[in-house]
Amino acid sequence: MSADLRVSIGSLTLNNPVLVASGTFGYGEEFAPYFDLSVLGGVVTKTITLEPRAGNPPPRIAETAAGMLNSIGLANVGVEVFVREKLPALQRYSTAIIVNIAGRSADEFKAVLRRLEECDLRIDGYELNYSCPNVKEGGMAFSARPDVAYEVTVALRKETTRPLIAKLTPNVTRIGEIARAVAEAGADAVSAINTLVGMAVDHRTRTPKLATVVGGLSGPAIKPVALAKVWEIKNAVSIPIIGVGGIQNYEDVLEFMLVGASAVQVGTANFVTPDCAARIVRDLESYCDREGIDRLADLVGRLNVEC
């Protein structure tokens, strides 16, 4: 008898807690040669904006110790092409489709959401990118202040009955306050964390390694920060948390779940091992069988902190 890996994110039930993070999995099809996407708990698609975006000038990425910096700049095909060409290809997979959206203003967020609501294709939820550090306009501002995060979430809540997941930036003093604001505004869940603002320098040329000078740090290097932020949010709100940051294997997933995440997103590891998320799902099944765990969701928030 196999363990029950299903987890709930508000009204949404995922086959398992392993999703893939926005911006690390393209529009999904890029990874189809490596495994059946239906084994995933969900796919969070690359951030979609109202108009197509070319992205930032190169160099856009730099390798750091156990991590990477990026300043892609939300390069994407725009919502029209996404609905016409990208979203249809994902429909055949029996995994949750979470569309990540962004805008420079609350109105632009709403316009993207409305266009997606109009289409007849399956969308299981939206992730609101309040937290990209790599765009000049908007971006991080939406989750840097509780009042702004609250207002935008309230506005978007009126537009859809589908689950809304606010993706939060760690680049704030108190992430719990932002989580509380979006929860009060009607968000069904939060994703934590987006990338940390970071920088890399080439001492030989005396130049920054990114054209934008600073960018977003991801990968195993940020896992301890992500765990701490999930823990802080867990102590601030009762809505589900999706843990993101440096997850490479099933043990990392267990750590995030114990700290309070109901599900996780695999990000940078997809670049290194394209079938990483599928391997993690398999390893979680084996772990449950080996440990006699019937329901993986029972582990959520079971961190022993008496020490």
Partner: protein, 266 residues
């Protein structure tokens, strides 16, 4: 079809002070890879260095199921790879990217390599020779000691011309100057140029081919994380349109591009 391959190391020879020729057993890769395509190699199990390292396919032996790579030791990743020995197994993702196109209308192939850019050029010369296309190869480097793959190219039925910047072997000057000289012997409709090397060299090849209206393809090497079009880190600028700047991805749209596709001047 790209896939993850577990590849036993067959040999790893040092060919110059910094350059190694690594051969792995990879029957499916050897069958599927085409010149210009690359593989992304996990050089270490741990998270440092984190990314795979992309390498052009240097050679294939389809009968023996072998794939060869040529690489220079430039940092932590390549230093680790230089230590790979028979008995080790490498995690190899590929074949990736867009391959060189065949020469149109029976044009004379003119293959231009600068430094380690010889890697995909050697594979292309190998394939073209097998097809009886008689390519001419222009191989350039900083000095005689830095000329790579001479022994392997000498075994192929190609016409080989050498260029060194210090004049220690062959033509004295950059290989692009040699290209410009050689091109004077051809009508622009009679030749197809294929080039790989540092971006400055490819910029010059692009200028020469565009000015002379010669059909040409260039193969870019750049920093990349995923190699499959997901991270969007390996963007290169294309000619700006009225909508502003635009980019193509070296890993997915390339690494082989038509000389007219990119704006390497930016």
């Amino acid at each position: 079809m790209p896939a993850l391959h577990s590849c036993p190391v067959v040999s790893n020879e040092q060919v110059t002070a910094q350059v190694f020729r690594l051969t792995v057993r990879a029957p499916r890769l050897a069958t599927e890879a085409a010149p210009g395509q690359f593989v992304n190699v996990k050089v270490w199990e741990g998270p440092v260095p984190l990314w795979r390292r992309p390498f052009s396919v240097y050679s294939v032996d389809r009968d023996a199921g072998l794939v060869g790579l040529l690489f220079a030791v430039r940092g932590t990743g390549t230093r680790l790879l230089a230590g790979a020995t028979p008995g080790d197994t490498l995690d190899v993702l590929g074949p990736l990217g867009r391959a060189f196109a065949p020469p149109p209308e029976e044009r004379q192939p003119l293959l231009v390599a600068g430094g380690l850019g010889v890697a995909p050029v050697h594979f292309l010369a190998q394939e073209m020779s097998a097809q009886g296309l008689h390519p001419m190869v222009l191989l350039g480097a900083r000095d005689a000691a830095a000329l790579c793959a001479l022994d392997d190219l000498a075994r192929l039925p190609v016409v080989l011309h050498l260029a060194t910047e210090d004049g220690s072997r062959g033509f004295k000057g950059p290989v692009t100057e040699l290209l410009a000289t050689v091109l004077t012997d051809f009508h622009h409709n009679g030749v197809a140029v294929y080039a790989c090397g540092p971006v400055g060299m490819l910029r010059e090849v692009t200028r020469i081919c565009t000015a002379k209206r010669v059909w040409g393809q260039i193969c870019l090497e750049t920093l990349m994380a995923c190699g499959i079009g997901a991270c969007m880190g390996c963007a290169v600028p294309t000619h700006a349109t009225s909508a502003g700047p635009n980019y193509k991805l070296v890993c997915k749209d390339g690494p082989v591009f038509d000389v007219r596709e990119l704006d390497l001047e930016r």
